[in-house]
Symmetry: C2
Subunit: 294 residues, 2 copies
């Protein structure tokens, strides 16, 4: 980075040599795709935009980076805390990672804005409070949402916005009082959400992060439900169970069993905690991505 336009000897000279026409003002934001499980369904946190552009549209929570005062990870953590109203303690159980940056020209009709997108995995969280500048905030089932669906499981390297994709300004998805579902997302947030889901699906293969969606103690069937919901397909219960227990460091037994059996019958399952593995070896690969994925 930081090739400068001239060769200043100090900051004053640098600023003098700086030509704002070469580098017009640019704004930097962080947007967060917060995923959680509610009633067995994958949900994403959305906020309703109180002002233009895209007034009345739903969007990913986020905000401006306080340049010079915080790093990108810090900014994302701050926004996450503000939007969810979570305590620092509760936030420690949330997984937060950088997803990628989006900077297609015109993605924000007002001015050049580059957004650094983050991805968060959270256990079942309380209903969000509507933050200052958001009209409403709510958990929204991912299914049926634009950018939801099963997604292109094999898409790669979509970290940056595709300049050929639909210009968000060419449609006007705002409306007055529809729920978050069945709504287009503001800006290029549908693309960000789609990329986030791709990343989440891949992460479940190689990391134990599925446990981040569950309470500190959980059963293997609960863990399997997370995989089934995010991957969008049923898994073989017996093989899944054996597989999870065979991967070193994935889960560790508490010695306890769940209070009740399954809702539709069956024995009470044993309880586990997340293990200390950060990567799964061997990985839990998704069942046959249809052959011919060339």
């Amino acid at each position: 980075m930081s090739r400068q336009p001239a060769r200043p000897d100090d900051e004053a000279a640098f600023l003098a040599a700086y030509d704002p026409r070469d580098f017009p003002a640019i704004a930097l934001t962080v947007d967060i795709v917060v995923l959680t499980m509610r009633e067995g369904r994958l949900n994403v946190l959305l906020v309703e935009r109180a002002g233009p552009p895209f007034q009345g549209c739903w969007a990913l929570p986020g905000g401006f980076v306080k340049a010079g005062q915080e790093g990108l990870d810090e900014a994302a953590a701050r926004e996450l805390a503000e939007e969810t109203g979570l305590s620092a303690g509760a936030l420690r159980r949330v997984h937060l990672e950088q997803l990628g940056s989006y900077g297609a020209p015109g993605r924000d009709p007002r001015m050049p804005v580059v957004s650094v997108a983050y991805l968060a995995f959270a256990p079942d969280l309380p209903d969000p409070r509507a933050g200052g500048d958001a009209a409403r905030a709510q958990w929204t089932p991912v299914v049926g949402l634009h950018g939801g669906g099963t997604g292109d499981r094999h898409a790669t390297d979509r970290h940056s916005a595709d300049p050929h994709s639909t210009d968000p300004r060419s449609t006007d998805p705002r409306s007055t009082d529809r729920p978050a579902t069945d709504r287009e997302l503001a800006f290029d947030h549908a693309q960000i959400l789609a990329d986030a889901l791709d990343r989440a699906r891949a992460k479940l293969e190689y990391t134990p992060l599925a446990t981040a969606f569950l309470a500190p103690e959980f059963t293997v069937p609960e863990l399997r439900a997370v995989y089934e919901e995010i991957w969008g397909e049923k898994l073989h219960p017996g093989n899944f169970h054996r597989k999870v227990l065979s991967v070193p460091g994935f889960v560790e037994s508490t010695g306890e069993t769940a209070e009740r059996g399954g809702s539709r019958g069956g024995p009470r399952a044993r309880l586990y905690r997340a293990g200390d593995a950060r990567l799964l070896h061997p990985a839990l690969l998704r069942p046959d991505r249809e052959e011919g994925v060339r």
Copy 2:
């Protein structure tokens, strides 16, 4: 993104409501880790900084994003073309993907600068020309470089700079005339390079991108040499050969054979082209990451 500090009805109102103390000026750059193979070794393109800070230091090539005029991918492609002097045609054979964004406070001593890092895989390229504001530009073997080495193969999610890492200003690695090797890199570029190498090592497992380092026609032993150099370990020639040919879409035969055999004897190898697969199924997993990677 783009939660605004107030609720303006148009751009004028937005600018009026904008408090520069809340969102001080921030600069956005792209930096590129261009990897290529030269004489069997993995090389990275570095430029010598002509001005402060870090004057005389080697750094990754990059530059400011022309806000509003180009997307991030475009900016990276433009910088790549400028620094390597490659034609548009030659650039089509180069793989370019976003690596992540780095924005730790103080990473640039002059002002808040966030850098979007890109990763490029290129076949053997000619010597770079020194760009306008770089004193020199040269290919540098990755081995022995800070951030080179075998790297932490299991590090994940290091997309953003670690605020706890060494402040680049606390050392003064500049000097007068040492080669690029044995030099600290400017800013947090050692971290970016390390992350890039981690990404490259992982990409070789799941994608056929190793072919991006080779000429359009190549032999299986040449392909194996790429894997061995980037992974830093010898592979079993026989098993590697069978594996490559068994993965659908990885390589396709040209029917020809190489002009000469190996430099130290042996039969002439058959020639292949890159296939149409974008993901490898099954993957070419690295040999035993030592057990106990928890």
